[in-house]
Amino acid sequence: MSARLLAWSHYLHAVRQAPLPSLDEPLRASCRGNHRRVDRFIQLALLGAARCATGRSLDPACGLYLGSGLGPVGNNILVQEQICRDHQFPRPFNFVNTLGSSATFYVAKELGLEGQAWWAARRGATLEALLELALADLELGVCRSALVGVVEECPAPYEDQRLRIHAAPDADMAEGSHWLLLEAESGPGPSGRLDADFGLDGPGLEAALAEAWAPGDTLALGPELPADLAARLRALARGPVLEGGYPVHDSLAGARATDWLRTLNQSRLQIACGCLGNYARIAVAA
């Protein structure tokens, strides 16, 4: 499955001490609308989507695919505290923003989108899940272009968040917003390209990587690949291998892909990723 890659955006912020930097000014600089009653998760989504679409007028029928391994955690914490600790009804906009589809609503509103707006997740592999859905829809002609984004939030206090996500005591954590704008492949024109294979078991991932590998490619290994599979993939790669190097967040394939594109690296990055026996190969080139 493949698509033309028209644009990308990358935001990754390692969090060590509260408070997190305000996103108000970056949002004012990037967004056309002034969005009220939005939480940090929605702000991250708006920031990434608006930056990805900078300078473009998107087709209103462009598909929107937004996801997160953990979801809008900060707002959900607030709602749980209101209900369970403070014995209050949640404030209406806090309650509505517990849903992922609130974030798609604000992104669609900001970018004037009227097409399909899906919110989907897979723990540790949300970009993989979203890309599989988006590329299928491009192939079926459901939409001609697709805006795909993963957003991960890291609410304070960080020692609580560390316990929630079972992060090591000394591990850095991060919030992030990583976006790709894809178009069904047709016609000429300079652009990047994304191609991918999904739903692979271990041997399937090895075979897919071997078939797709080209001289000059760089391999990135996802953090949840079993050690023996990672070792076989390292042996298979005849080039540099990227591993680790990012703070903990749940959509590291998204961070890896958009970070690579951000550097305007001309070579292709092959990402081997996924978890729990379900793997994917995602290749991006600017």
Binding site: C84, L99, F105
Partner: protein
């Protein structure tokens, strides 16, 4: 490769009508409308709500372990009906739709620690959407790629549509699609705060004044192989309406556009549609928007059925729960009536079906709309 046809090979259902598909279909035939009263004390305003609880389970609604215990129920029924054994399950793709997923479990655990060790309690001790996948993997051996949808009340309808598309493209051969929504404090207090709740669910009625919540689990086994049920998922469409985060545009424009999109994608004309399963929440604004959208897209209107008076609004699960109940009724040859409708609203120009009709073969359209401006329609084919 030309897109493949996608069939319903198995179904499972647990809801206020009963536990198991046969019990639910019989409950629908009898016109059963079972609610219990949910009481939540300690808030500024006490919560007393009618609720369509899973039958026989009303006393344990807030048990912390209930979520994990119930997850496999409908899935087992669907897998058994489709004859999918352990070996095939190991690579079976899983699609799940819900608004709340395991929030009831997180609430329960937080409350327990708050009571025993308030100094060390922190909210939301569990995050993410993987609990359903983990439970179905350990209990039933379902081990393929998973997709969790959280698009409010269209969540499991979108899960069905996504699975249908991947099967039609040949990316996967079969999928277990699950919709679940179980009682939790967040939903009860959140909807109470929004003041969208009523004592009786009366879709499209002149006196409609809000929703009644419900819970349940529905499961569908989709397959590229034709099965004996005589049911096919022809396709669907989904669009986005940014009129309001909590309701579709009441002028019906986005809903009419959706009806046209879904008919176009499935190669159908409006006159081909045998009947419409409406979203029919009975909230004044949403029913107005749906009626306006249907009138813009269909002339004349096909029979319109709303199922929520039997089930309550099961939120993210309604996509599958209502499809399964509707499909089973069609299989039994019956287009079910809409309970709760008494007085026509002249503003709507829509009178839902109030008596049983024979259900012919052909395509049926199912509508779902959710918070966040998420609209989805599916087309179900009755082939036998």
């Amino acid at each position: 490769m030309a897109p493949r046809r996608v069939y319903i090979a198995g179904m499972g259902l647990s809801c206020a009508l009963g536990r198991g598909l046969a019990a639910c279909a019989e409950g629908l035939r009898q016109g059963r409308r079972n609610t219990v009263t949910v009481a939540l004390d300690g808030y500024t305003e006490p919560v007393r709500l009618p609720y369509y609880a899973l039958s026989g389970d009303a006393g344990t609604l807030f048990d912390t372990g209930r979520f994990l215990r119930l997850i496999p129920e409908a899935a087992i029924e669907a897998l058994d009906q489709a004859g999918v054994g352990r070996v095939r399950r190991s690579r079976l793709a899983l699609f799940v739709g819900s608004t709340a997923f395991g929030v009831s479990r997180a609430e329960g655990e937080y409350l327990e620690v708050l009571e025993r060790h308030p100094g060390s309690a922190f909210a939301l001790p569990r995050v993410g959407f993987q609990e359903v996948r983990d439970r179905l993997s350990s209990e039933l051996g379902v081990g393929g790629p998973d997709f969790a949808f959280n698009t409010a009340c269209t969540a499991s309808a979108n899960a069905l549509l996504a699975a249908q598309r991947l099967i039609s493209l040949g990316r996967i051969d079969a999928a277990l699609v699950l919709g679940l929504e179980l009682a939790n404090r967040t939903t009860f207090t959140g909807f109470s705060g929004l003041q969208l709740l009523s004592q009786e669910l009366k879709p499209f009625d002149a006196g409609r004044d809000g929703i009644v919540l419900g819970e349940g689990l529905g499961a569908v086994l989709l397959s590229a192989e034709p099965g004996p049920l005589g049911l096919e998922l022809l396709g669907g469409a989904s669009n986005s309406d940014t009129f309001s985060v909590t309701s579709a545009n009441p002028d019906g424009s986005s809903i009419a556009a959706l009806q046209r999109q879904v008919l176009d994608r499935c190669g159908l004309a409006p006159g081909d549609v045998r009947a419409v399963k409406a979203h029919g929440t009975a909230s004044p604004l949403n029913d107005s928007g749906e009626a306006a959208g249907l009138r813009l897209a269909f002339d004349p209107l096909p029979p319109v059925v709303a199922l929520k008076p039997y089930l309550g609004h099961t939120l993210g699960a309604c996509g599958i729960i209502e499809l399964v109940l509707f499909a089973e009724s069609l299989r039994r040859g019956v287009l079910p009536p809409t309970a709760g409708f008494r007085v026509e609203d002249p503003q709507l120009g829509l009178r839902p079906l109030t008596r049983e009709l024979e259900a012919p073969t052909g395509p049926y359209l199912l509508n779902y709309f959710g918070f966040g401006g998420n609209n989805t329609a599916l087309v179900l084919g009755k082939t036998a």
